[in-house]
């Protein structure tokens, strides 16, 4: 069949020239498959049911992200195919003059898209299946599960999903192609290639004014997201700086396109050196028409950088925090003397008998359930916390209360402060391996690690606010909060515990008893078994009368953290990679098609005696500028974007920012740089072909 043959021939030729496009398609399919097949990688891992639930949640998230990803890829494919079609106007013109109907031309395009689609799907799925085997290692590593033996996994559902999503994308491309073929005019097709695009020189004054305005708007947007962060009351408010940033990015490129040439032209010494004039002209003739796509690429790069670095920071910080913030195996807490605040606890949903029967320590409580917790524990301590309505934040902030209240009106200032004997705290600290403290009878100190609370409390501590507790007057030992915590968690969430000398405390005000310790066993399976039995106690009939101590264990915290951090990492990686390959592919494709247009120009330069080295240099610079320009602005955007993200994600900690930025940079250099090099070498080949 002749049409088939034509399609085949066209593809064969295009594959050589637009290898980058096919490469991207294959990569897109592969990534899509890998991330949708993640759940099948976890099947053979030994994980708890809790982790299994987290994985399911992660898969739900990933599949909604996949919808978004398919939009991005769909946009890329349609953009690229329309772009490649434009290059073939003359070819279609010839078909029409030979009397081929538009329907048949659409048919050729249809066949081509079909072939490319099938080819990229088959190869992409193949690559995806192989890559996903490596993914198993990563997944096992993240969930800290043992990968007992290597098993080859293939996810049929992910495969079918990939095929369906990409089929829809290719179908859309076919529709777009058919529509644009039926709308084209023969004379335009035949002459289209010959008419070069008009070079409109922009008014330099207008450009300068717009340049200054956009710089100003951009600066304002930067300022809003970093410094005026607290003025953003509603979620929608963040849209304002985003839109400001987007619009000013566009106009920045628009005005730069007009200005750069003029600026360099005035530097005669540089402009007339070597092929600089040619390179610059090439550059400015194109940027005029590519301002829009440069903007899109810049914004996509910006999102990629922020996403990757924030996600990696979150993951690293969480994993680092967990080592520090969950230093022992288990902690069980039980409320005591609940009847003292009967109304409050009723409101919290405890029943009468639970409130009445609250004069037992955690250990005693377990015994009531016929469960000897201590037999499982290697070493354990019991500590108490105290509270009184006479010591709330209102009191600890003292004279600073009013000024703080105007700044932070939404804090619950009536909450009772947690009070702890310094000896109790030191026992905990010793077990945790953190700083211990000593206090005189008339001193107090506050341990806290939740940043914003620390800064609020420090205001009061700096001014040396005294507190009155159980008839004693205590002055602060330090002018700032000290680092420390009692309850284990995955993040820094200790808003403050007031430590006082043992003699100050009155036992009547005991509100909570803690049992903290390490298990005798270190085997993960056995620990899971113990914890399952403790959880099982809540089904005991006694649970209605007595309140079962609430436990937070290292394993729970770890699993929750690992689940959250791997979810964040995978989503970050997924979106980051798709965004990165899409934007790099658009740039690469653009440059490659320019190169085939530039063949003639380079041949001319060769004729007037420019040597190969100089030509390659020119080509390299030309492509480098186009790749660097959006990246440069994206990096500047990202500095502020990351700063903003750090504020939002403060609770997760940001100690690990630098390594994740380095990781992101490596990632970026590897993929974006790779695309740049491929583009350069392909362009070089296109330009050389003439000889």
């Amino acid at each position: 069949m002749m049409l088939c043959k034509l399609s085949f021939k066209n593809i064969k030729k295009s594959i050589k020239d637009y290898a980058i496009y096919f490469f991207t398609l294959i990569l897109g399919v592969a990534i899509f498959y890998v991330f949708n097949a993640l759940d099948s990688q976890t099947v053979m891992l030994e994980v708890s049911s809790f982790t299994q639930e987290l994985i399911e949640l992660m898969m739900t998230m990933l599949s909604s992200v996949s919808v978004f990803v398919s939009f991005v890829l769909g946009f890329l494919i349609i953009y690229a195919s329309r772009f490649l079609m434009k290059k073939r106007n003359q070819e279609f013109g010839i078909y029409l003059t030979l009397g081929m109907s538009k329907r048949k031309i659409s048919m050729i395009l249809f066949l081509e898209t079909l072939l490319i689609g099938i080819l990229s799907l088959v190869v992409g799925l193949g690559v995806g299946v192989i890559l996903s085997q490596f993914m198993s290692l990563l997944v096992a590593n993240m969930f800290e599960a043992n990968l007992t033996k290597f098993t080859f996994v293939f996810s049929t559902s992910a495969c079918i999903k990939t095929i369906i999503y990409f089929s829809i994308m290719y179908l859309l491309v076919m529709i777009f192609n058919t529509v644009s073929v039926s709308h084209c005019k023969l004379i335009d097709l035949l002459n289209g290639a010959k008419t070069s695009e008009k070079i409109k020189l922009k008014n330099p004054y207008l450009c300068t004014i717009i340049f200054i305005i956009s710089c100003f708007v951009l600066g304002r947007a930067y300022y809003i997201v970093t410094h005026d962060f607290l003025t953003l009351q509603e979620v929608q408010d963040i849209l304002i700086p985003i839109v400001m940033g987007m619009v000013s990015t566009f106009f920045l490129f628009w005005s730069l396109s007009g200005l750069i040439l003029r600026m360099v032209q005035s530097l005669k010494k540089y402009y007339y050196k070597g092929l600089n004039s040619f390179t610059l002209r090439q550059f400015s003739s194109k940027i005029n028409t590519t301002v829009f796509s440069t903007t899109i690429i810049c914004l996509m790069l910006f999102v990629t950088i922020c996403l990757l670095s924030s996600c990696l920071t979150m993951k690293n910080s969480m994993n680092a925090n967990i080592k520090k913030l969950a230093p022992v195996d288990a902690m069980f807490a039980t409320n005591m003397n609940m009847d003292r605040y009967y109304d409050k606890y009723r409101r919290y949903g405890y029943n009468d008998s639970q409130i009445q029967n609250s004069h037992y320590t955690a250990k005693e409580m377990f015994e009531l359930f016929d469960f000897d917790i201590t037999s499982y524990l290697k070493d354990y301590i019991e500590v108490n916390t105290y509270a009184t309505p006479d010591l709330t934040m209102n009191h600890t902030l003292g004279s600073k209360l009013d000024s703080i209240r105007t700044q932070f009106p939404f804090l619950a200032y009536d909450t009772m402060e947690s009070i702890m004997k310094v000896s109790d705290y030191n026992r905990v600290a010793k077990l945790y391996g953190i700083q211990e403290y000593s206090l005189d009878d008339d001193e107090y100190l506050i341990v806290a690690d939740f940043k914003s609370m620390v800064s609020i409390r420090n205001i009061a501590l700096e001014s040396g606010e005294v507190i009155h507790l159980f008839g004693h007057t205590l002055k602060p030992k330090y002018t700032s909060c000290q680092d420390g915590f009692l309850e284990m968690s995955s993040n820094h969430i200790n808003t403050g515990i007031i430590l006082v000398a043992d003699s100050v405390v009155e036992e009547d005000y005991l509100v909570q008893n803690y049992l903290i310790g390490n298990y005798k066993t270190t085997d993960r399976k056995e620990i899971t078994e113990i914890e399952n039995r403790i959880n099982g106690l809540s089904k005991d009939s006694k649970a209605n009368e007595y309140l079962l101590p609430s436990g937070s264990t290292k394993l729970d915290i770890k699993e929750a953290t690992v689940g959250l951090s791997s979810m964040v990492t995978f989503i970050g990686l997924y979106l980051g990679m798709i965004f990165l390959i899409s934007s790099a592919a658009i740039l690469g494709l653009k440059e490659l098609s320019e190169s085939s247009d530039n063949k003639e120009r380079f041949r001319m330069l060769r004729k007037i005696g420019a040597d190969e080295r100089l030509l390659n240099q020119t080509l390299f610079r030309q492509i480098a500028i186009f790749f660097a320009l959006p990246l440069l602005l994206a990096c500047i955007h990202s500095i502020f974007g990351i700063m903003f993200a750090q504020q939002v994600l403060e609770v997760f900690g940001n100690e690990q920012l630098l390594p994740s930025i380095i990781m992101t940079a490596i990632f970026l250099i590897f993929i974006y740089g790779g695309y740049f090099l491929i583009t350069y070498f392909c362009s070089k080949r296109i330009i050389k072909e003439q000889d």
Binding site: M2, L6, K9, N10, K12, K13, Q90, E91, G93, I94, Y95, L96, T97, L98, G99, M100, S101, K102, K104, L186, I187, L190
Partner: protein, 255 residues
């Protein structure tokens, strides 16, 4: 003599109402079967536009063009494709060959679009290659051929369907004089031995002198028309030069 092409009071305007350009201004002429007509004119005289509207690449603003009695200005859709496929053969200045296909495949394309059997295609491609002396370039790709060879391949593609009318736009424009002469001799052969009707646009007097009639166009109108009659090619060339001199302007380059 049977009329193959009849152009009746055609007009073609370009641009908007404010800056209207009349590329063709109420122009009429006829071409009989078996004629070899050259259209000459300076650049901007409207000769390429004329060829474009005859070849249905572009549409006239008003007037009618009949090819074999059929009004092609009224053709649309599949009828238009069928007309291009069966009645016309195109030869362009820049050849317009598909660089993904070999010479053989380029020529065969014109027939395969008409769904001709492959055995028949093979016979006819070989035949036309013989006539145009391009047998040895058939397996080559366009980038492996010389300009003259490319143009002869393009010509082969244009005539292989036995079209009623062959339209050529500056066919020698990109060729050197030796290749030009060779191509034009082939055109003469096609015209005389195979009775192909050829309409050729050129600004070159030497190329035009191979035709049997030359129509001169100026400002979208027919300026003069001369027949070769019994003259030798040399004598006809001199006559053309006389008119060119009379026309003045750009066409003086033709000397």
């Amino acid at each position: 003599m049977e009329s193959i092409l009849k152009v009746e009071k055609i007009e073609k305007y370009y641009g908007s109402r404010s800056s209207l350009t009349k590329a063709i201004d109420r122009l009429s002429f006829e071409v009989s079967k078996g004629e070899f007509v050259a259209i000459m004119g300076a650049s901007g005289s409207g000769k390429t536009t004329l060829l474009n509207v005859i070849s249905t690449i572009d549409r006239v603003t008003s007037g009618h063009i009949y090819v074999g009695g059929e009004d092609i200005t009224k053709l649309k859709g599949n009828h238009l494709n069928q007309f291009r496929r069966e009645e016309l053969g195109f030869i362009f200045q820049d050849f317009n060959l598909l660089d993904t296909l070999t010479a053989y495949e380029n020529i065969a394309l014109a027939l395969s679009i008409q769904n001709v059997k492959s055995s028949e295609i093979d016979r006819r491609v070989k035949q036309v290659a013989e006539q145009l002396d391009i047998k040895e370039v058939l397996p080559k790709y366009p980038y492996q051929m010389s300009g003259g060879q490319k143009q002869r391949v393009a010509s082969a593609r244009a005539i292989i369907t036995n079209p009623k009318l062959i339209l050529a736009d500056e066919p020698t424009g990109a060729l050197d004089s030796k290749s030009s002469r060779m191509l034009l001799e082939r055109f003469q052969y096609l015209n005389q031995a195979l009775e192909a009707t050829i309409l050729m646009v050129t600004h070159d007097a030497f190329t035009a002198s191979y035709a049997s009639r030359v129509i001169f166009i100026k400002d979208g109108k027919i300026f003069k028309e001369i027949h070769k009659g019994q003259d030798s090619r040399k004598e006809f060339f001199d006559k053309i030069i006389d008119v060119v001199t009379l026309l003045g302007g750009d066409l003086n380059d033709a000397l």
